[in-house]
Amino acid sequence: MAKKDFYPLLIIIAGLVLFPLLIRGNEYFITILVFWGINAIIAMGLCLLMGYAGQISLGHAAFFGLGAYSSGILTAKYALSPIWGIIWGITLAGGIAYLVGKPTLRLKGHYMAVATLGIGEIFYIIFNELIPLTGGPSGLSGIPLLTIGGESLEGLKFFYLVWIVLLLLLIFSLNLINSRIGRAWRAIHGSELGALTLGIDVARYKLQIFVLSAIYAALAGSLYAHFVTFISPSSFSLMFSILLLMMVVIGGAETLWGALLGAGVLTLLPEYLRGLEDFEVLAYGAILMVVLLFMPRGILFAIKKMLWRSKE
C-alpha cells in the first residue's frame, strides 16, 4: 500500500478499537455496521473491477448469492462445517465467474453491462426455482452461527469478524493496486491497445480481476448467511446488483476508500428510507441521478475538492 493509504487505515483500526466503548449494547447499530462491512467487501471487489480495471458488472448479486447459498446449504442442509461452505462458495463463484467471464469480458461497454445483467438475472431465477436445494422463494433457514473455539459469533463478536476480514482484504487490495498487477489493470482501463503492446495479456488480466471480485462477493455472501441465519432469493435480486453498483459509483469508483464510503452511505440510507416505504425506490433513483449529474466522480472526490477549495 502507498503512504497515503496508511492514515485512513489507521483511522479504521482506531475506530474498531474504540467502537465497543461508543456503542455499548446497541444491537441495532451493530447490525447496521455488520451490513456495512459485508457490503463493503463486495464493493471493494467491484471497485477493483470497475474503477481500476474499467470493466462493468450489473450482476454481482449472483456471486453474493452463490456464496450465501453455498454456506447456507452445506451447513443447514448437510450439517458440514462452515469452512466447507465458505470454500465451496468461493470456488463455485470463482469457477462460474471464470466460465462466464471469458466470453463476457471480450464484449465492449454496453454489451458487457447487459450480459452481466442477464447473468445476474439467470442466477436469481435459479435461486428461486431450485426449490429442493435452495428452498425457493420461501428461503433457507436454520443456518448455524459461526463458532470460534466454542464461542458463537453474533452481535459484537461477528462485527469484529467481518471488519477484520474487511481490513485484511483491504490491505490485500491496496497492495495489489500498488503493484504491477494494479498498474496493469489501470493500464487496461486507460488503453487496452497500449497495454497489449506492452506485453500485458489483457484478456487474462480482465478475467483475473473479474474472478477476484466474484470471490470477494462470495466471501461476503458466506458471512451474510451465517449472520442472518435465513436467506431468500429476494436479497440477491437485480435491485441488489444495482445497489452494489451505486455504492461504488456514488462513493467514488476511483479509490477503495470511495467504495467503502459508498457502501456505508447505501447501507445507512435504506434504514432512513425504511420509514418512507413507498418513497424508497424513488429516493434511490433520485439520489443516483443527482450524484451522476453533479458529482460524477463520487461523493469522496466531491468532498476532497471542497476541502482543497477551502484551503485556497
Partner: protein
C-alpha cells in the same frame, strides 16, 4: 387439448409476447442508432404506458381512444424530458456514467410508479370484449388481435417514417455517421431527442395493448428491457427490421419453452438466448460483424 391446439395456443401467446418485445427492441434500436447508448430505462416506458392508461380510463374516465392518445403523449413527454434532463447534459460523459444514468432513470421511473400506484398489478378491460375466439382448438382472446394489429401498424408507421420522411432518413444518416450528418446540417441533438420520444411512444403503445392480457405492475420494466434488448441484439443492434423479427422470435421461443419445457425457467430462456448471441455473434443474426466492429459500442 391435443398437441396441435396446444401448439396453436403457444403460437398465439408467443406472437403476443413477441409483439411487445418487438416494440421494445425497436425502441432500443432507435436510441442506439441515434446515440450509441443502450437505454436501460426502455422497459419503464412500457410499464408507464400500461399504468397511465389505467389512470386515464379509471380515474379520468376517458374513452378508450382518447385515453390511448393521452397516454402515449404523456409517456412520450416523459421520454423527451428524460433525454433533456438526464441524457443531454452528460453527452460527453464516460460509458459507465451513461449506462448508469439510464439505470438511474429506470429506477426513478420505477420508484415514481411505485409511489403513485403501489406494488399491486392493475388491469384494463380488453378493447373489444372478453369473449374468447376458438381457432384450431385453441382459446384466443380477441385482445391478441389488437396487440398484433396495433404492433403491425406501429412498425409500419416507423418503417414509413424512416423511408419516406426527411427526418426519418436523417435519423438513419445520423446512426451511420454522426459527424457527417452534422456537417450536412442535420441537428444531431434534435434527432437524439426525437429518438427518445419515439422509443417512449413505442414503449407506451406496447404497455397499453398488453395490459388487458397480462396486467401491469411497477417493476415489470427490467425484465421487459432485458428481453427486448435480447431481441435488439439478436436482430443486430441498429437494424429496425432485425429488432422486430427477433422480437417475435424471442416471444415464440419463450412461449414454446414455457409450454413445452418449464414455465418457471421461461425468463431464463430468453436471457440464455441473449447471452448466446452476445457471446457468439454480438452483431446479431441480421447484422454484419464488420459493421459492428467499426461501431463504438
Amino acid at each position: 387439448m391435443d398437441l396441435i391446439s396446444q401448439l396453436c395456443q403457444y403460437l398465439f401467446a408467443g406472437l403476443t409476447l413477441g409483439s411487445i418485445y418487438a416494440l421494445v427492441a425497436l425502441g432500443f434500436s432507435m436510441i442506439y442508432g441515434a446515440t450509441g447508448i443502450i437505454n436501460l430505462a426502455q422497459g419503464e416506458f412500457v410499464m408507464l404506458g400500461g399504468l397511465i392508461m389505467v389512470f386515464s380510463s379509471t380515474v379520468l374516465h376517458l374513452p378508450l381512444f382518447l385515453a390511448f392518445i393521452f397516454t402515449v403523449i404523456v409517456v412520450t413527454l416523459l421520454g423527451a424530458l428524460f433525454e433533456r434532463l438526464a441524457i443531454h447534459p452528460l453527452k460527453n460523459a464516460s460509458l459507465i456514467t451513461l449506462i448508469m444514468i439510464t439505470l438511474a432513470g429506470s429506477i426513478l421511473f420505477r420508484g415514481g410508479a411505485m409511489f403513485i400506484w403501489g406494488k399491486d398489478p392493475y388491469g384494463l378491460p380488453a378493447f373489444s370484449g372478453d369473449r374468447p375466439w376458438y381457432l384450431w382448438g385453441a382459446t384466443i382472446q380477441p385482445q391478441i388481435f389488437w396487440v398484433l394489429g396495433i404492433t403491425g401498424g406501429a412498425v409500419l408507421g416507423i418503417g414509413l417514417f424512416f423511408s419516406r420522411t426527411l427526418t426519418g432518413k436523417a435519423m438513419i444518416a445520423c446512426a451511420c455517421n454522426p459527424l457527417a450528418a452534422r456537417l450536412l446540417g442535420i441537428n444531431v441533438w434534435k434527432l437524439v431527442l426525437l429518438s427518445f420520444a419515439l422509443s417512449a411512444a413505442l414503449g407506451a403503445i406496447a404497455g397499453i395493448i398488453i395490459t388487458p392480457i397480462t396486467l401491469m405492475e411497477y417493476d415489470r420494466g427490467p425484465m421487459l428491457a432485458l428481453k427486448g434488448f435480447s431481441a435488439a441484439v439478436l436482430g443486430g443492434l441498429g437494424s429496425s427490421m432485425g429488432a422486430v423479427v427477433a422480437g417475435f422470435l424471442i416471444g415464440l421461443i419463450e412461449s414454446l419453452g414455457a409450454g413445452l419445457i418449464s414455465s418457471g425457467y421461461k425468463d431464463a430462456l430468453a436471457l440464455l438466448v441473449l447471452l448466446i448471441v452476445l457471446w457468439l455473434k454480438p452483431s446479431g443474426i441480421l447484422g454484419s460483424a464488420e459493421e459492428s466492429a467499426l461501431k463504438k459500442f
